[in-house]
């Protein structure tokens, strides 16, 4: 594409920026990529916004705005333009305030830096393309896998939001664990009470189809076009169902303490799990399983299989409350029973503490310690308990020994992840997109997880989850008509060589490898059996696929390889042995805030630095890094976020780390100092992480001196490029 000229709009921030605008204006006027240079005092106010509109009209949408952080003005500008029906998708922003004027007190240096960054951005702008809105119609059908309380609530919520829902349950009836709970804290109700109204609603709802005895085998496709492969009751052949999104609501599984010799579970019938006790209490069949005898002495053991290095390391959260509820229920049914609870810590959140207190008042005995032995004597179970507060052993009889066993992820979560593409947490539950804010979304677009399949949860939390999950899908599916700006990766299928790197590494599982049916026609050795397919509307615009693609087949439509390379070259114009420059690629989702906050706090750092924004650190390829050195950079850094904290919701930062490591190896191999390139992790709560990092890279630039490019001893890099 040929280079087009852009207008430049410079903002003085109410004449408050320590920059020489005269110099910027005169220098930029000389640049052959500019049509005009305008200096405004307040781009963010009415007059400035109007100026933006007129410059866009005069320059076919090509405009470079040099002002404060785009994080703040961009939303305002977009809103202003949107209200007036003007396209602003090609505007490029340069931050000359937080990233330059506010952090460099030397006006000349700051001006020079600003000029370089604007020049670079002009080069990026020169080959930008307009991004157009797109509409996609999809079926407004959602499938819910799992018919427990979370699945039922999700189905009802989605139906209320206008979707058709298929609720798929593996057992022969809906209700999951909840229907067996005699008492659900803190509601004071039984599980059946909580369920009944909801069950009635799902059954009456004409938009909800219930499939019981249904097992989901695997799922193909992507958001808007999934196909669920399942088997139904009495039907061994596989059935399929088209759906636009999937709710994972498969609940949890109770740990079976078979291997735990010390409790004699499985050997002694009077040793049961807390959930088995719940069933007995609900069904009114509380008795000794061994002989049907009356239950007078009950010992409960907490944390069985939880908080243990041998089994599950974490706490199962609900079993303390569960045990207390059941103790109260036992005393209700058999007032003269003796209940002892052996525990490490009693963990009952908020008002459940009041229930805990109530249970102590009615005589439940809490013993901090552990079980040291269980044995049978004359047909009776006996338990020896170590009381760590009294530092003594006590021996008690037990009609029922109840184990509060760990809450584990349900079967099948892992198997489905292979085709549904969500990630799995260390503990086997479905992994959330981002722990603090995105608990119900998964890595895969169009797949949400609600209820205990994500973590042990109380009933009320599962219901909240389900309601929230329904909203998340509603946001995505927009009632079946998805409207969005086409911003993201665009694939040129002809260039694809079928390596599948994009499909393997896309943090959000967007590229699919599609079998090429007509591949047979080509000659045997050139045959490409699979090629990628990328739906730009599903893409999260990180650019990871682009940085990995060996053939340049997939590229972001707002930051192509050519745009990036020309920006690097133009930014580094003038960099050299006596003008050592540190180039920093920063992620526009995470590191940008750290750098902005350093700016707002006016934390000084060296002005020999130049900054280039990328949508995700993973967009920076080895070639981009080498191009920076070729352009004259003395050191190069990538500013990104911490492991597992990727703002695109994936592993873009880890991909970037790999690129940096490889680039470093290449540099070392050809006799450069590999430490000229590095990657740093940061978040905005600790702005000094950025200033420390960039100062270190400036130090290295100085310490290592001129690069082989500067001294003219390096070969050209073209062979590494295309």
């Amino acid at each position: 594409m040929s280079d087009k000229k852009s207008a430049v709009l410079l903002c003085t921030c109410g004449k408050q920026l320590g920059l020489s605008f005269d110099l910027l204006e005169s220098e930029l006027k000389k640049n052959n990529l500019t049509t005009s240079v305008t200096v405004e005092d307040l781009v963010c106010q009415e007059e400035g916004l109007a100026k933006i509109a007129s410059l866009l009209a005069e320059n076919e949408g090509r405009l470079v705005i040099a002002a404060c952080t785009s994080q703040k003005i961009q939303p305002r500008i977009i809103q202003y333009l949107k209200d007036r029906g003007i396209d602003g998708t090609q505007i490029q922003y340069v931050n000359i305030r937080e990233h330059s004027a506010w952090v460099h007190s030397d006006v000349d240096e700051a001006t020079k830096k600003s000029l370089d960054m604007i020049r670079g951005t002009l080069a990026r702008s020169a080959t930008s393309v307009q991004l157009v809105p797109e509409t996609k119609e999809i079926g407004n059908h959602v499938s819910v896998i799992g018919g427990g309380i979370a699945g039922i609530e999700a189905a009802l919520s989605l139906s209320n939001l206008g979707y058709h829902v298929t609720l798929m349950e593996i057992s022969d009836q809906l209700g999951g664990h909840v229907k067996h709970l005699p008492l659900v804290a803190p509601t004071g109700k039984s599980g059946v009470e909580i369920l009944s109204g909801r069950l009635e609603s799902v059954e009456k709802d004409s938009k909800i189809t219930i499939l019981t005895k249904t097992k989901v085998k695997f799922v193909t496709g992507e958001m808007g076009d999934f196909t669920i492969h399942y088997t139904a009751e009495d039907n061994t052949s596989e059935l399929t169902l088209k759906t636009s999104a999937v709710v994972m609501a498969m609940g949890f599984k109770e740990f079976e303490p078979i291997g735990m010799e010390e409790y004699r579970y499985g050997k002694n019938p009077d040793v049961i799990t807390q959930f088995q006790l719940s069933r007995m209490l609900t069904e009114g069949t509380l008795a000794r399983p061994s002989d049907g005898g009356a239950v007078k002495e009950v010992v409960m053991v907490q944390c069985v299989g939880s908080r243990s290095e041998d089994y599950k390391r974490d706490c199962s959260k609900i079993c303390c409350t569960f045990a207390i509820d059941n103790s109260l229920e036992i005393l209700k049914q058999i007032p003269d029973a003796k209940v002892r609870v052996v525990y490490m810590d009693i963990r009952v959140p908020f008002e459940n503490e009041l229930v805990y207190k109530e249970s102590r008042e009615v005589g439940v005995d809490y013993i901090r310690g552990r079980i040291s032995m269980v044995w049978e004597q004359e047909g009776k179970t006996r338990v020896k308990i170590y009381d760590s507060l009294m530092d003594e052993y006590l021996e008690v009889p037990s009609d029922l020994l109840v184990l509060s066993t760990a809450i584990l992820p349900p079967d099948g979560v892992f198997a489905l992840s292979e085709t549904l593409g969500y990630a799995i947490e260390d503990d086997g539950h479905i992994k959330e997109l981002y722990g603090k804010l995105r608990r119900n979304e998964t890595r895969r677009r169009g797949v949400v997880a609600v209820g205990a399949v994500t973590r042990p949860q109380f009933v009320s939390e599962s219901i909240t989850d389900a309601q929230a999950g329904a909203l998340i899908l509603h946001n995505e599916l927009q009632g079946g008509k998805i409207q969005a700006i086409m911003r993201g990766a665009v694939l040129n299928v002809d260039d694809c060589v079928g390596c599948s790197l994009c499909a393997q590494q896309c943090p959000r599982g967007v590229p699919l490898m599609i079998e090429q049916i007509d591949a047979e026609e080509e000659s045997e050795d050139q045959k490409i059996l699979f090629k990628a397919a990328i739906d730009t509307l599903n893409c999260h615009s990180c650019g990871v696929c682009q940085s990995l693609c060996p053939s340049g087949a997939t590229q972001l439509n707002f930051l192509s390889n050519n745009q990036m390379w020309s920006e690097i070259e133009a930014t580094l114009e003038g960099a050299g042995a006596d003008n050592p420059v540190t180039l920093c690629f920063y992620c526009e989702e995470c590191a940008v805030s750290t750098i902005d906050i350093a700016g707002t706090l006016k934390m000084e750092y060296p002005a020999s630095t130049r900054l280039i924004p990328v949508p995700c650190a993973g967009r920076v390829s080895i070639i981009d890094i080498l191009k920076a050195f070729e352009g004259g950079a003395s050191s190069v850094m990538i500013a990104a976020c911490e492991t597992d904290r990727c703002h695109v919701g994936g592993t873009g930062n880890e991909i970037a780390q790999v690129q940096v490591d490889v680039a470093r190896d290449i540099l070392n191999a050809i006799g450069w100092k590999g430490e000229r390139v590095d990657m740093f992790r940061m978040f905005s709560a600790e702005p000094e992480r950025f200033t420390t990092a960039i100062s270190e890279m400036v130090r290295r630039a100085r310490e290592f001196g001129p690069t082989p490019v500067h001294t003219g001893t390096a070969g050209k890099w073209m062979e590494v490029g295309k």
Partner: protein, 414 residues
């Protein structure tokens, strides 16, 4: 035009609800008592479970990325959000679908849409300040109590004429269809809990105060210093359940204080040099994956003492001697510490009881109670609540609840 939705409180819960509703095309009025949104989150530095910054939430559904810091959340730019800062709800009457709400809207000394944070006024007068670089709206605030000679020239020279020193508060009556209560929590000031001597010695502080000390954006720039004399602090003792699980104050468990105490213990032992931490507790309640903080801090050498604090003796050198009864060892132990941190109860924020009584809602130990406890977020007829307004909660829960509220509102409108 249908009535907008009223959201009371702009912490993470209220902000999330507002943005989600706005993105779904529903007008909202977001009323916040203070001069910046963010609520408690603005002052808490690092957050569990992700151990990165506290100040982020979902900025706007149509922007890329899965989260945005407060400063770039563009709340003031979203056409469907009417943000009312320094404001309070005075009275609510009327019926569901058409509530009549009387607002007391505080004086707008600085127009948040005009202020560019250029800093000119701050240089001229002490009355202007930046609450936090993460504040939202991104604007300076003016304190009319501080009078100095610079205020008028600041107002005159402000490049955007953002300042109006004569601004007055106004009253306004609006009609709203639904009400979302997101008024959050308050950390109890443990002044009355005599045994811990809060207020009697500068080195006895609460967890929130410790968070400020640990925060690189705070006064000490993240360096652990003794409040009494600014000397480096090396020995920290925390005591759990201050005012919680205690009939004299709050009978409930504040649910998250164990986790944030341990989060602080982890920061102290992992990010700071040679700091010793001990924690006095009854039960350590680190649910689910938060157990990791318990494991990690024990491995990092944090000492856990099951028992209770029985006496505090201030020493001349600024340190404190703490006598602890260890219920496992069944004996008294003496510790010398630099900072004594109280994990104080989380209580309903001021005004919760009025909201409860004026709207006829249920109370859950003073927090907003659900009609049916299993449906947490529905607290009345077209009245919802989310976040710590419902009881002590962590951020992930608060935002999930906010989404559930929006889901319920949209469901009722479909």
């Amino acid at each position: 035009m249908s009535n907008p939705v009223l959201i009371i409180g702009a912490g993470v819960a209220g902000m999330t609800a507002a943005v989600e509703l706005a993105d779904s095309g529903i007008k909202t009025v977001l009323v916040e008592r203070l001069s910046t949104t963010g609520g408690n989150a603005l002052n808490l530095y690092k957050a569990f479970p992700t151990d990165d910054c506290f100040y982020c939430f979902e900025g706007n559904r149509w922007r890329p990325g899965i989260r945005k810091c407060f400063y770039r959340s563009a709340l003031t730019e979203q056409p469907n959000i009417d943000l009312k800062m320094n404001s309070q709800v005075e009275e609510i009457s009327g019926l569901p679908g058409n509530f009549s709400v009387k607002l007391d809207i505080g004086p707008q000394y600085v127009d948040p849409k005009k202020c560019t944070m250029c800093g000119l006024c701050i240089e001229k007068s002490k009355a202007f300040s930046l609450v936090s670089p993460q504040c939202q709206p991104q604007a300076v605030v003016y304190d009319p109590e501080i009078e100095d000679t610079g205020t008028t020239s600041a107002a005159e020279e402000c490049p955007t004429k953002a300042i109006n020193l004569d601004a007055k508060s106004t009253k306004k009556i609006i009609s709203v269809s639904d009400i979302v209560i997101a008024t959050g929590y308050h950390e109890m000031q443990p002044v009355n809990v005599d045994e811990y001597g809060y207020g009697t010695h500068p080195n006895i502080i609460t967890q929130l105060e410790l968070a400020r000390i640990l925060d690189p954006l705070g006064e000490t720039k993240g360096v652990l210093l003794r409040p009494s004399d600014g000397k480096p602090a090396k020995r920290v003792m925390m005591v759990q359940c201050v005012g919680s699980r205690d009939e004299n104050y709050y009978a409930y468990c504040s649910k998250i204080c164990c986790v944030f105490a341990l989060k602080h213990a982890a920061i102290l032992t992992q990010d700071h040099e040679d700091v010793e931490v001990s924690v006095v507790y009854m039960d350590i309640r680190t649910y689910d994956r938060y157990e990791k903080y318990y494991r990690d801090t024990r491995n990092a050498g944090v000492e856990y003492i099951r028992g209770r604090v029985s006496r505090i003796e201030p020493q001349d050198d600024g340190s404190l001697d703490i006598i602890v009864f260890d219920s496992l060892l069944n004996k008294y132990l003496k510790f010398s510490v630099d900072i004594f941190v109280l994990s104080s109860a989380l209580e309903p924020s001021a005004g919760s009881s009025q909201i409860i009584s004026s709207l006829g809602l249920k109370s859950a130990s003073g927090f907003i109670g659900a009609i049916n406890p299993e449906t947490e977020v529905v607290v009345g007829n077209r009245i919802y609540a989310c976040g710590s307004a419902l009881g002590p909660s962590e951020v992930p829960e608060s935002v999930t609840q906010a989404r559930a509220v929006v889901s319920k509102i949209l469901q009722s409108k479909e």
